[in-house]
């Protein structure tokens, strides 16, 4: 009884979440290489003072790419199940909401009278 009880529920849960494996060491090193070079790029942009308004845009883009690589390879979203993706996405989505509405205020307040 205990036995099939187990076999049963493991099977049930394995279909929920696949078994994780650790990526080959080469992948890890390559990922690090990419991240490091992106960091160099970010600093390069930071030290070049002729971009004007585009500077912050450029460096934030780099940062976003960096974060993406980090999340996908190091934080292993690569093997993660749909649920994990959903969780990660929801974090970004709600942060987006916070930004969207709050900044709407700061961008449009002067248009209204009150």
């Amino acid at each position: 009884m205990a036995h099939d009880h187990h076999s049963h529920s493991t099977e049930l849960h394995e279909q929920e979440t696949g078994v994780h494996t650790v990526p080959p060491i080469s992948t890890t090193l390559v990922t690090f290489g990419v991240l490091a070079s992106l960091a160099v790029l970010a600093l390069f942009i930071g030290f070049s003072n002729d971009l004007g308004g585009m500077k912050v845009v450029a460096s934030l883009t780099v940062a976003t790419v960096q974060a993406g690589v980090l999340a996908y390879f190091f934080m292993d979203l690569k093997q993660a199940d749909a649920l994990t993706w959903l969780v990660a996405a929801s974090a970004l989505f709600w942060t987006g909401l916070l930004f969207l509405f709050t900044l709407t205020d700061y961008l449009t307040r002067h248009l209204g009278v009150l």
Partner: protein
């Protein structure tokens, strides 16, 4: 792993069938359950059993409720006369702040997730415990730590900013121990985050075979939605409080007009959490009501999907409406318009719920024990709360009603008329399961009626006096408002009486109450199929589930543990199709 539980391996325990057999009086005496297995103080303070932690929460929140209740009585008593009957201005401000902060952060937010959520969710989904038992215990300790900060803050003089803590008053001008209170909010918030993580992980990963999302009890749905809000909202107020504290320490800061900072920004970030927080407070209550109504009307819930998804809808849309607290605060006009629109949308799911509950009663076979009376009280009062919310969500009408007693009445109708009655309903409904004892039928019904009448008398006049323009947080007010305030105070004292009664008859039931039996209300939920009080591991064998949660509608109810042929296969491996497609 869990030190408290692997001591005795429940030797005399026979593998369980579903529903569990009613124990004989003899067995009942010898049986091991979560209350009598180990009774040292240590075993309680270091327990990782979700049921015991639920009880720990029960004791603490009840204590804090009395605390906040006393503050409320002070406030109401003071308002008997236009010039303030008993308190100095400063004392009054501290009293209503204490009432607000304690009731919100130490009672309404933790009460149902902490007590009923902890106790019931694993049992409702057929699990042995929450996903992270140690984390669960930790979150209770964190909660108590935060709570003691609040208490400490009261002892050293209390704060007088109102629970909203608006700067620059809270950051520069108030001379009180804001820092302790802020830290208290931060810490208790952390505890509710941990609870949220725990509950979401549990509902996702620990469901018994066949317990699909379509068969999940509505209480679990509501708790799931609540936890989502706790996870996404709480960190924002935490960091906001941090920034406030920084400003207080440095003397200059982020919301400081002297530096060109904007006090309104604090309000944005505060309400980003604090508006969804009111859904943290009401959603679990809605879950409870769905359970109670179905059981006492012997009916399937009317429109399971609608009720379930409206919880999720509220959780999501609830994050998009915070600006309706700021229509006249000087936020952008266009933003305000967007918020007003979304506010009208978030009103819809609540309306759906109310209609569905009403429809659930139709064609039932209704009995009126205490939980049912509370549940019906919930519907009646929450309807008023919801409808009056429309005045405040409408930009135009909010101009006049904002920060008046109309607002006070509105949110007490939702928070107390809603959540408090739901809490009472739930407590009375699951008390026999928690303790194995039945409370006095007469007294419990009487208390319910007293609470409802007292409540109505307290808060209905406040709508009128609010429309007349009496501002909130006023210890002194023009004479012409006195009549309504006296009515309120009278009602408040009746209410207070009502809330005291359960403390007595529930305690009495522990000693003199008759054994409740496994399933006194003949409910269909999994939690009712184990013995009461339940076994430390809830179920020895994980049950397999075959039908939806509210199959009252057929003779004797369909046992959710038997397949169509009525075979008892608690550990069957051939679960229905959707049984395996659970998960995200």
């Amino acid at each position: 792993m869990s030190a408290a539980n692997d001591k005795n391996d429940y030797l005399d325990y026979t593998p369980q069938t579903f529903p569990a057999p009613e124990p004989t009086a003899e067995q009942d005496r010898t049986r091991i359950h979560y209350l009598n297995n180990e009774n040292t103080l240590r075993s309680w303070l270091l327990t990782v059993d979700h049921k015991r932690i639920g009880l720990l929460y029960l004791f603490s929140v009840t204590f804090f409720f009395l605390f906040g209740g006393i503050a409320a009585m002070l406030v109401r008593t003071n308002l008997i006369t236009p010039t303030g009957a008993i308190l100095e201005l400063d004392q009054y401000n501290k009293a209503f702040t204490a009432h607000g902060t304690i009731m919100l952060f130490l009672f309404l937010i933790p009460v149902i997730p902490g007590v009923l959520g902890n106790f019931l969710i694993p049992m409702m989904i057929g699990a042995k415990d929450l996903a992270f038992p140690k984390l669960n215990l930790l979150s209770w300790y964190v909660f108590m730590a935060g709570a003691s900060l609040f208490v400490w803050q009261l002892l050293v003089g209390g704060i007088d900013t109102g629970w909203t803590l608006y700067p620059p008053y809270s950051s520069k001008y108030s001379q009180n121990s804001i820092l302790y209170a802020g830290l208290g909010i931060f810490v208790t918030g952390f505890s509710s985050i941990l609870t949220g993580v725990n509950i979401i992980a549990t509902i996702h990963k620990m469901r018994a075979p066949g317990m699909t999302w379509g068969r999940l009890p509505l209480f679990c749905w509501a708790m799931y939605a609540t936890s989502v809000i706790q996870l996404l909202g709480t960190p924002v107020i935490a960091v906001t409080v941090v920034m406030l504290a920084v400003e207080r320490v440095f003397g200059v800061g982020i919301f400081d007009p002297n530096l060109g900072g904007d006090p309104i920004l604090f309000q944005h970030m505060f309400w980003f959490y604090s508006h969804p927080a009111v859904y943290i407070m009401i959603l679990p209550g809605m879950g409870v009501i769905s359970e109670v109504l179905t059981c006492f009307a012997r009916k399937n819930i009317f429109g399971y999907k609608a009720v379930a998804w409206s919880s999720v809808g509220i959780a999501v849309v609830g994050f998009l409406v915070w600006g309706h607290h700021m229509f006249i605060s000087g936020q952008g006009y266009y933003l305000g318009m967007v918020f007003a629109f979304l506010t009208m949308l978030v009103a819809v799911p609540s309306a759906i719920k109310v209609f569905n509950w009403t429809a659930t009663l139709y064609g039932g076979s209704i009995t009126y024990q205490a939980p049912m009376i509370h549940a019906i009280g919930f519907i009646v009062l929450f309807t008023i709360g919801g409808l009056t919310g429309l005045y405040l969500g409408t930009m135009g009408t909010d101009i006049h009603l904002h920060d008046t007693y109309f607002v006070i009445a509105h949110f007490h109708f939702t928070m107390v008329g809603g959540m408090m009655f739901a809490w009472q309903a739930g407590l009375h409904f699951w008390w026999p399961k928690m303790t194995g004892k039945m409370y006095s039928d007469f007294w419990s019904r009487l208390a319910a009626v007293i609470m409802i009448t007292g409540f109505a008398l307290t808060f209905l006049p406040q709508f009128v006096v609010g429309y007349l323009g009496m501002p909130r947080r006023y210890p002194n007010y023009p004479e012409e408002f006195q009549f309504y305030n006296i009515m309120s105070t009278a009602g408040a004292s009746i209410q207070g009486l009502g809330y005291l009664m359960p403390v007595f008859y529930l305690t009495a039931s522990l000693f003199f109450g008759r054994p409740a039996g496994n399933n006194p209300f003949k409910a269909t939920g999994l939690e009712w199929q184990t013995q009461s009080p339940p076994h430390p591991h809830n179920f020895e064998t994980t049950p397999a589930v075959y039908f939806g949660p509210y199959e009252y509608g057929v003779e004797n109810g369909l046992s959710i543990f038997t397949n169509e042929n009525g075979d008892h296969l608690p550990t069957d491996t051939t679960t229905p199709k959707e049984g395996v497609t659970s998960g995200s």
